[in-house]
Amino acid sequence: MVREHLPSRREVWNAGATIRLTTMPVTLLQRVARGETAAVAACIDEYGGIVYSLAVRYLRPVGDDVDDAVQEVFTEVWKNADRFKPELGSEAAFISTIARHRLIDRQRRAMSRKRAAVNHSEIRAMVPEVKNATELNDDARRAAEAFGRLDVQEREILWFAIYQGLTQEQIAEAINIPLGTVKTRARRGLMRLREMLGAASAEGVAR
């Protein structure tokens, strides 16, 4: 089996094709925690886009400084790099979790400073779908598949709450459904997602 695998890799290399020679994503933070400053830029290039994208969505509607928030998030990431445990989850999930918590804090502070008028009219047209699962790595594929198995109403609520950073009141207003329904769908969707990801993780450990 090994013999069949190796030559193809070498042949591709020798053919001069573009190859992604990369360590596992988890190693970036491990390298950072060892003081390898070269890993800082690589980490930013890998995850800067998703953090910036989240920051834009969470903070631009409330008028907060997106660039400042992204810098705050990454400072938090660097300071916590030594707490990252690859066996507990992906690097992307670790950074995303830090980013979301930090952005929610900033969003709530900004909203309390000024009762921001948030325009959600254009959000209503979006359909929460995910990339073709075959284009994603293992962790992301499991998450995409689990997300795809949720009801469309649950996906919609999670999309608004997690990726757009809307409060449940804002979601209820934006899509014109009762607040209680938003709360029920959000809770049920997240619990089902956690259960499916937990099952996939347990199977992975057992393999």
């Binding site: 190693t27 400053t37 070269a38 800067g48 834009v56 918590h101 449940q168 347990a202």
Partner: protein
């Protein structure tokens, strides 16, 4: 799969476990009342701790894991969506530069590098940049009581001897250690030698003949380990320079392998030429040599 490795399951959720998960989900969306938060904290403090349907302890971050896993997926999906509020989500170049500068400063302060040696015996290497400077400062501070000449002599020669000695010791004490011959590739036509790797010990060295000198300011050699247990990603085996490597009694260059992750089943060792400090992504694969695991 044996029964010992099969994940255990607690079966259906207990009412308390279900309630705790509901509260954690609400907490993730920041909609808990004060009374609900107290209820959640009480359930989290329960002894024995509550477990989910997979037998895992339910913790404060249980929902965060699911949310964290989903965010990159939703971000990826954004690329395909049109009309997403009309915002650009690419990281601006100026912000990226500030992040790199700021991050480098923070990381250097929080994780100071005391010993940097992608190649044991890399004294005098110019490839490590700031990290080497810190390492040298610490080294000299610790050796302040010694004569400068002696310090310099030891710093250049003691580590240099150790790599060859460690290789000899490895082969002497672990004769089962495997050896795999290099096969020269386009960027290293004159290279020969072997990889010496003990998977049980997760320790190994590379022996080279005919490796061309590199300019550490422009490029470095980087080692990769293809692992059957991680088929998607080769493991980074560290960077090194020809000039700062260790020579054994035969004049062969001896370079220790510095695997950044555990290697489960090595299938191929490779050396490429990369920018100083190494890379995590190599576009063109400037391949110097490979050694297949037979």
């Amino acid at each position: 799969m044996s029964d010992q490795t099969r994940p255990t399951s607690n079966g259906p959720l207990s009412p308390d476990a279900l309630r705790l998960l509901e509260l954690l989900a609400d907490d993730a969306f920041d909609v808990l009342s004060i009374a609900e938060r107290e209820e959640m904290d009480g359930l989290l403090r329960r002894v024995p701790r509550l477990t989910d349907e997979h037998g895992r302890v339910i913790e404060r971050g249980s929902m965060d894991e699911a949310i964290g896993a989903l965010i990159p997926v939703l971000g990826a999906s954004n690329d395909k969506m049109s009309g997403t509020a009309g915002v650009s989500t690419g990281l601006p170049a100026a912000l990226r530069d500030r992040l790199v500068q700021q991050g480098t400063t923070v990381v250097a302060a929080k994780y100071p590098v005391v010993s940097v040696a992608p190649v044991a015996g890399a004294a005098g290497s110019s490839s490590g940049g700031r990290q080497n400077v810190i390492g040298w400062v610490g080294w000299f501070a610790a050796a302040a009581a010694l004569a400068l000449a002696a310090v310099l002599y030891q710093s250049r020669n003691a580590p240099a001897a150790s790599a060859a000695e460690r290789l000899a010791m490895l082969l002497r004490e672990h004769p089962e250690t495997s050896k795999y011959a290099w096969a020269a590739q386009a960027q290293g036509p004159g290279v020969s030698g072997e990889v010496i790797w003990n998977n049980q010990l997760q320790q190994g060295f590379m022996r080279f003949k005919g490796l061309a000198a590199n300019d550490p300011k422009k490029e470095q050699y980087q080692t990769w380990i293809f692992d059957g247990g991680r088929p998607e990603y080769p493991v980074d085996g560290g960077v090194f320079d020809m000039a700062t490597g260790v020579r054994d009694a035969n004049g062969d260059l001896i370079v220790p392998i510095s695997a950044k992750l555990a290697v489960f089943k090595p299938t191929l060792f490779a050396v490429t030429i990369e920018k100083p400090g190494g890379v995590v992504v190599s576009d063109k694969g400037r391949l110097v040599t490979i050694a297949k695991v037979e």
